[in-house]
């Protein structure tokens, strides 16, 4: 029988049909039938050093390309180690498919070796998950998983595969259609709502575009740019939306929220119309909700109906894919222009003057010193080398915020970070995934010394695959963001935030067989970065930055976003 296949063969056949180029994984007992089949299969398997990093690498791959990232792990500990990566992908709407091994169907529920209830554990960590009980369901489930991960609001989907299903034999026939009657994908948006939105936009005196990760996910960056230019509105991109509008665009007012710029937060607060595109009014953006954009009507475009009026009531909701909706919105706006545009021209000019005044009043200016390396200075130098074109994978914490503030992105899918979950240890494995996805691009992993020490094992993955990732550790010897909060809100009682032991970069990198360098003077910063980039392979830079620098502006937790702490309240001392 030509089409008789094992479950393992069927899975690989389906992955090839989905266009999967590489998977990030870690084998184990129940996965042996699959790994045996992969021995002579063209699918590329990247062996990471910890399953959590398989999920993060798959996410980095997905964020850099928009394609579905795939990770694999064995049953029990392998599957539980994926959990953080799954939740991260759920929070940031990253399309990944996770494949986990499971003990044989007959053993399920018997507390077998390396058994865990993966289906139950990951129910709340995924967009959807499957436990495959029969080989006859396998092709359908694999294709459904890819369809679910990559449509609507993207997200992680997990397939739990018992060993006997991998070993079973059955006739394979390709799946011709996906039938999920209860899965609704909203794309176009309501035509009447779009027309009304166009009217509201032209009638607004102080419109403000608030664009997020949905712009990146739907590939709506060109449409966003066209919209912003057509109505000449100021625009912010959220942490997940950076690159949605080029940072160099004159209408771009940087990032809003807790560590957003003064102009971005003042603009949101004083706007009379928020044009919210692919955003979820996250608490890190809105601050105290009751005081958020109190004068604004809200047009909310989102692909997920559950996001509409979840945090902030929408005056005009449009449920749909950002790209499709914006295309139609632009058409509707053009039909009403230019008569509509001219009516509010006076007010719009005043609005821009006000925005520019706020920008001039408190610009985002990096700290630079000639005696010590300021962390912001590191970002400025990375930005200089990147020129808005490199992929920057950040970890979580102070360095992440400085990178978001000072590194520019001319395109989408260059800025890769863990936003919603804020998962330390994300940056380095994400850079691995991004570098596999884009082998010819310059990829920086910009990481704090805390997050780096969570991901050190992956230096082996980088070395063994010769990935030319440029690892920049922004090393202040602290869990800086936690310390910042302890200083500002907990009476400077620093508890468990000192990272007083860090491996010597030269030795650590050498142990893995690639070059590394410690940098501790501002004069060496640029040459060191240039050296790292000129090396053909990986490079580890340990940049000792001034240890007591904090991220500003800052909106205290529970504060309104216009009530920013712009500078340190008093010289903050670190107790010895």
């Amino acid at each position: 029988m030509p089409n008789l296949m094992s479950g393992s063969q069927m899975l690989l056949e389906c992955l090839m049909r989905e266009g999967v180029e590489c998977v990030f994984g870690y084998p184990g007992g129940v996965m042996l039938p699959l790994y045996d089949e992969m021995y002579e299969h063209p699918l590329r398997h990247v062996l990471v050093r910890h399953e959590e990093n398989a999920a993060f690498a798959a996410s980095g791959y997905a964020m850099a390309t928009g394609k579905v990232g795939v990770c694999m792990a064995t049953s029990g500990p392998g599957a539980t180690n994926l959990v953080t990566g799954l939740v991260n992908a759920l929070m940031d709407s990253i399309p990944i498919v996770a494949i986990t091994g499971q003990v044989s169907t007959k053993l399920i529920g018997s507390d077998a070796f390396q058994e865990a209830d993966t289906f139950g554990i990951t129910r709340a960590c995924t967009k959807h998950n499957y436990l495959v009980k029969s080989i006859s369901d396998l092709p359908r489930i694999v294709h459904e998983a890819f369809y679910l991960a990559s449509t609507g609001r993207r997200g992680p989907v997990l397939i739990d595969l018992p060993k006997d299903v991998l070993q079973a034999q059955a006739h394979y026939s390709p799946v011709s259609a996906i039938h999920l009657p209860g899965y609704k994908v909203y794309t176009d948006g309501h035509a009447g709502q779009i027309r009304r939105a166009a009217q509201m936009i032209w009638e607004a005196e102080r419109p403000f575009v608030y664009a997020g990760g949905g712009i990146i996910a739907s590939g709506a960056h060109d449409e966003l740019r066209r919209l912003v230019e057509l109505v000449d509105a100021p625009a912010v991109c959220t942490l997940m939306g950076l690159g949605g509008l080029p940072s160099s665009h004159p209408n771009f007012i940087s990032m809003p929220g807790m560590h957003g710029s003064y102009a971005a937060n003042m603009g949101m607060t004083n706007s009379d119309l928020l044009i919210a595109l692919g955003v979820r009014f996250d608490d890190r953006v809105t601050g105290r909700l009751a005081a958020f954009a109190p004068h604004a009507k809200v047009i909310h475009v989102d692909i997920d109906p559950a996001e509409i009026s979840k945090n902030r009531a929408a005056d005009l909701p449009i449920v749909g894919d950002a790209k499709r909706v914006l295309q139609r919105l632009i058409k509707a706006l053009e039909e009403l222009a230019p008569e509509a545009a001219s009516k509010k021209a006076e007010a719009r000019r005043a609005w821009w003057q006000q925005i520019r005044a706020w920008q001039a009043e408190h610009p985002l200016v990096p700290e630079v010193s000639s005696t010590e390396i300021k962390p912001q200075h590191v970002m400025v130098e990375i930005d200089r080398i990147s020129g808005g074109e490199a992929i920057i994978c950040a970890d979580v914490g102070q360095h992440q915020m400085w990178a978001a503030q000072f590194i520019r992105f001319n395109r989408p899918r260059l800025w890769i970070n863990s936003g919603g979950l804020g998962s330390m240890g994300f940056g380095l494995p994400a850079a691995i995934g991004a570098q596999f996805a884009c082998p010819d691009k310059l990829v920086f992993a910009v990481i704090g010394d805390g997050g780096f020490q969570m991901s050190i094992p992956e230096l082996a993955t980088i070395a063994s695959n010769g990935l030319p990732v440029k690892i920049v550790v922004v090393n202040n010897g602290y869990l800086g963001m936690v310390r910042q909060w302890q200083q500002l809100f907990y009476n400077n009682r620093l508890c468990a935030v000192t990272l007083d032991c860090f491996p010597k970069a030269e030795s650590l990198a050498a142990a893995y067989g690639f070059p590394g360098r410690t940098v501790d003077s501002p004069a060496d910063l640029r040459p060191a970065l240039e050296q790292a980039v000129s090396e053909p392979g990986p490079f580890l830079l340990d940049i000792k930055v001034s240890p007591e620098e904090n991220v500003y502006p800052m909106v205290p937790a529970g504060g309104a976003i216009h009530e920013m702490i712009l500078r340190p309240p008093q010289p903050v001392s670190v107790p010895k």
Binding site: M16, R17, E18, G19, V20, E21, H41, P42, L43, R44, F119, G120, R123, A124, K127, H128, N129, L131, K133, H143, Y147, L148, P174, V175, S176, A177, I178, H179, L180, P181, G182, Y183, K184, V185, D304, P305, A306, I308, S309, K310
Partner: protein, 182 residues
């Protein structure tokens, strides 16, 4: 305030867990839950009664509608709907109370489903308040054991069920088998 949610759900493993997960993840305690097959054996109808913050009611319905296995979730709390509950009760009572118990059952429209020298088993359907009154009264006659079904509800308005049609699987993006270890 108690909210009544009616769901039409694919009859698949894990579907119940996903739905109750929407509630438990938000710390809500379920007051009652019933599930059974519909005319289509592939589908189940579920009625959930749960105490949800009034501002979050819509959010809970939306989150349930987002689940892949849920075809429709509707809030029947303020909608034209009929809601009923069934009760099975065993009452142990002395011989001299038997006639009075039967009389009481007749008044409430309860049926006798078992009779023994110890007492009766009774069955009653109705709105929750009626069941509670019945329980209070029967307590006076002796020891009782009660099992309630939880609420089942049906909407009195025709509701259009919007289902997604099958999506043809795009042509396979086959990889070149020669690029092993690319």
């Amino acid at each position: 305030m108690l909210q009544t949610i009616s769901l039409l759900v694919e009859n698949k493993p894990g579907a119940l867990m996903r739905i109750t997960g929407v509630l438990s993840a938000r710390g809500y305690n379920i007051d009652s839950l019933t599930v059974a097959r519909t005319l289509d054996p592939g589908l189940s109808r579920m009625t959930i009664v749960v105490d949800v913050d009034p501002q979050l009611r819509q959010q809970v319905i939306k989150q349930m509608n987002k689940l892949v296995n849920v075809l429709q979730a509707i809030d029947l709390t303020d909608q034209p709907a009929v809601a009923r509950e069934m009760l099975l009760m065993r009452v142990r009572a002395p011989m001299e109370s038997r006639t009075a118990i039967l009389k009481e059952a007749e008044i409430f429209g309860a049926r006798v489903v078992d009779s023994s020298i110890d007492g009766f088993a009774l069955e009653l359907t109705g709105e929750a308040e009626k069941l509670e009154e019945f329980i209070d009264i029967m307590r006076a006659y002796g020891d009782i054991d009660v099992t309630r079904s939880g609420m089942v509800a049906v909407s009195l308005e025709p509701r259009k069920l919007r289902l997604s049609p099958p999506v043809p699987k795009a042509d396979p993006v086959l990889q070149d088998p020669m690029r092993k270890g690319a």
